[in-house]
């Protein structure tokens, strides 16, 4: 009886273990088959000469270059806002907070981590409604608003990875600091932060990946299908994930659908590379 149960369990484990890589292979295989033929320079720049677009900002009409730039700007803005805030909060929770403050803050941040991304988008949307009713009647969804809402989305990841990186440092480091007569802040600044930098950086990279791939938030806060290169912080913009979503729903020709698959390949490569970079940092940490 027990023997049979064992055999069944092993069989099921094999089945699921085979299914998972098979699924991954199917997804990437499908994307490669449909998208690879369109993965050419024209995918990025359409009919515009690439150099003219890159150096002189010539408008690109049926390429994904504006969407690439949009995602780049978006990610840069998110990093600018989220990294200082997230890392500082992580340091506070790891080093300074105690008792009730720590409990209350961690509860709020855990809750923020669990909130569906669409609610961050809805929050941004509500913020615009609120601004219009109160003191900025012209307020509209834009690049800056998306970056703000995405900041809320990635903040919990940054905080918990920073906190974990600092809290998992060996006690010997703290003792060293104390024996050198360092103040608490000097200890953090000169010893703990440099030692936990790889862990913090890998958290930052993962957060950037999350911001680059999210569609639900930007869908509600200012991304559009045809905005060209983003002009200002308060302008509408294009982004890679939304471009894929839009083409999948509204494609007019097989060529546009092929472009959707090629764009998906580009985005997949981007998030995959970010994951690899983060893993490499973490691996370096484990060896030390």
């Amino acid at each position: 009886m027990a023997d049979r149960q064992e055999k069944l369990s092993v069989a099921f484990a094999w089945l699921s273990a085979l299914l998972v890589p098979a699924l991954l292979a199917m997804v990437t295989g499908f994307l490669l088959r449909r998208g690879l033929p369109s993965l050419q320079v024209a995918l990025w720049f359409g009919d515009t000469p690439p150099l003219a677009a890159l150096l002189h900002g010539a408008p690109v009409f049926d390429g994904i270059w504006p969407a690439c730039l949009g995602t780049l700007y978006l990610v840069a803005l998110v990093a600018l806002m989220a990294v200082p805030l997230g890392v500082a909060s992580g340091i506070f929770l790891a080093e300074y907070a105690g008792g009730r403050t720590k409990l209350a803050f961690s509860f709020c941040i855990e809750l923020l981590a669990g909130i569906p991304s669409i609610l961050m988008g809805l929050f941004g949307f509500a913020l615009i409604l609120f601004l219009r009713r109160s003191f900025a009647p012209e307020a509209n969804t834009c690049l800056l608003l998306s970056a703000f809402c995405l900041t809320l989305l990635v903040l919990p990841y940054l905080i918990s990875s920073t906190r974990l990186a600092i809290e998992s440092l060996p006690d010997a480091l703290r003792l060293t600091g104390a024996s050198l007569g360092l103040s608490h802040w000097q200890l953090i600044r000169r010893i703990l932060l440099p030692a936990s930098a790889p862990g913090i950086f890998s958290g930052v990279i993962l957060a950037i990946g999350r911001a680059a791939e999210d569609t639900a938030v930007i869908l509600m806060t200012g991304v559009v299908a045809n905005a060209g290169t983003p002009g200002s912080l308060t302008a509408k913009y294009e982004a890679l994930p939304f471009h894929i979503y839009y083409l999948a729903a509204e494609y007019q020709s097989p060529a546009e659908l092929a472009q959707a698959f090629a764009t998906a390949l580009v985005l997949l490569a981007l998030t995959g590379l970010l994951l690899l970079a983060a893993r490499r940092l973490q691996a370096g940490l484990e060896i030390k």
Binding site: Q5, E6, S9, V10, A13, W14, S16, A17, V20, P21, L23, L24, V27, F30, P84, A88, S89, I91, F92, E95, Y96, A104, F105, C108, I109, E110, L111, L112, I115, P116, I118, L119, G121, L122, F123, A126, L129, F130, L152, P156, H184, I188, R189, G209, E213, D214, T215, A216, L219, M220, I244, Y245, A248, A260, A264, L267, L268, T271, G272, L275
Partner: protein
């Protein structure tokens, strides 16, 4: 000085979630006047006839999250057991690498691939458009799988280092160790992974939006289209309808928020229980 700045940063981060809640409550306040609340909890969403019932969306969200968990959870458990004793040792690492890669695939990419591979299959096998509960369920299961696997893997790793010697002393095989010791001992972790996966499935927008067909009706058959709360929010904002629709939008948001709070409280309860009992 530094400590004060850091405190402010942490306070801002912690207050963010309260700000979100405050905005949701503020914008759903008009619903608590008159009989609007009763109208909200009806089974009919027909904006043109001034009917804004959101019960179909609530039901669809819950049904989709539970059903995709029913598919993803056993698979994730199988994968974890395979990586921790039921399969050959050499296969564990590559398998977990594959799972990590799966977790880095953007949601919209899963949606795109499913829309042009899975949906045509379902369309061929049934009479409808192929955009239905089943399509969203299967894709969502793939999406939630890595979350569950990585959490369980973490649990199993920690537990294994504790019980390895005991298991070896008892003369248990790796398979017996997994089935007789690790699994029963990690019951809390198993529940936590299920709750976390449920929360992940409940909160996803893109998969139901792209694959579930978005018809506001109660989920009665796997081959029927459905509309989840998340997709509903995205759709209403995109279509720019009248203000009464906007109000119900924030009610949907509030319900999603409360469900998230419940999920988090559940997780927290299990975790504190775990530390209290050693």
């Amino acid at each position: 000085m530094a400590a004060r700045l850091l405190y402010c940063a942490a306070a801002v981060s912690a207050l963010a979630v309260l700000a979100i809640l405050a905005f949701l409550v503020y914008f759903s306040l008009p619903l608590f006047q008159g009989d609007q609340l009763a109208a909200l909890f009806s089974w009919h969403w027909r904006p043109l006839q001034n009917e804004f019932g959101i019960l179909p969306m609530i039901a669809a969200s819950l049904a989709l999250a539970v059903s995709s968990m029913l598919v993803a959870y056993p698979l994730a458990l199988g994968v974890c057991c395979f990586a921790h004793g039921l399969g050959p040792d050499w296969a564990a690492r590559p398998l977990l690498v594959a799972v990590r890669l799966m977790s880095s695939v953007p949601t919209v990419v899963y949606g795109l691939v499913a829309a042009f591979s899975l949906v045509p299959l379902i369309r061929g096998a049934s009479s409808g458009s192929g955009l239905c509960w089943l399509a969203a369920l299967l894709t969502l299961a793939v999406l939630a799988l890595p979350t569950i696997v990585l959490l369980l893997d973490n649990q199993f790793q920690r537990l294994e280092s504790e019980i390895r010697l005991t298991a070896a002393a008892l003369g248990l095989t790796r398979v017996q160790e997994m089935l007789q010791l690790t699994l029963p001992l990690s019951s809390r972790g198993l529940v936590m992974a299920a709750i976390l996966g449920f929360g992940r499935a409940l909160g996803d927008t893109l998969v139901p939006l792209m694959l579930a067909g978005n018809a506001p009706q109660p989920p009665l058959s796997l081959l029927d289209p459905m509309r989840t709360l998340t997709a509903h929010i995205a759709l209403v904002v995109a279509t720019d309808s009248q203000s009464a629709a906007y109000n119900s939008l924030f009610a949907c948001g509030l319900i999603l928020f409360l469900l998230t709070v419940l999920v988090n409280l559940g997780l927290r309860r299990i975790r504190t229980g775990a530390t209290a009992h050693g």
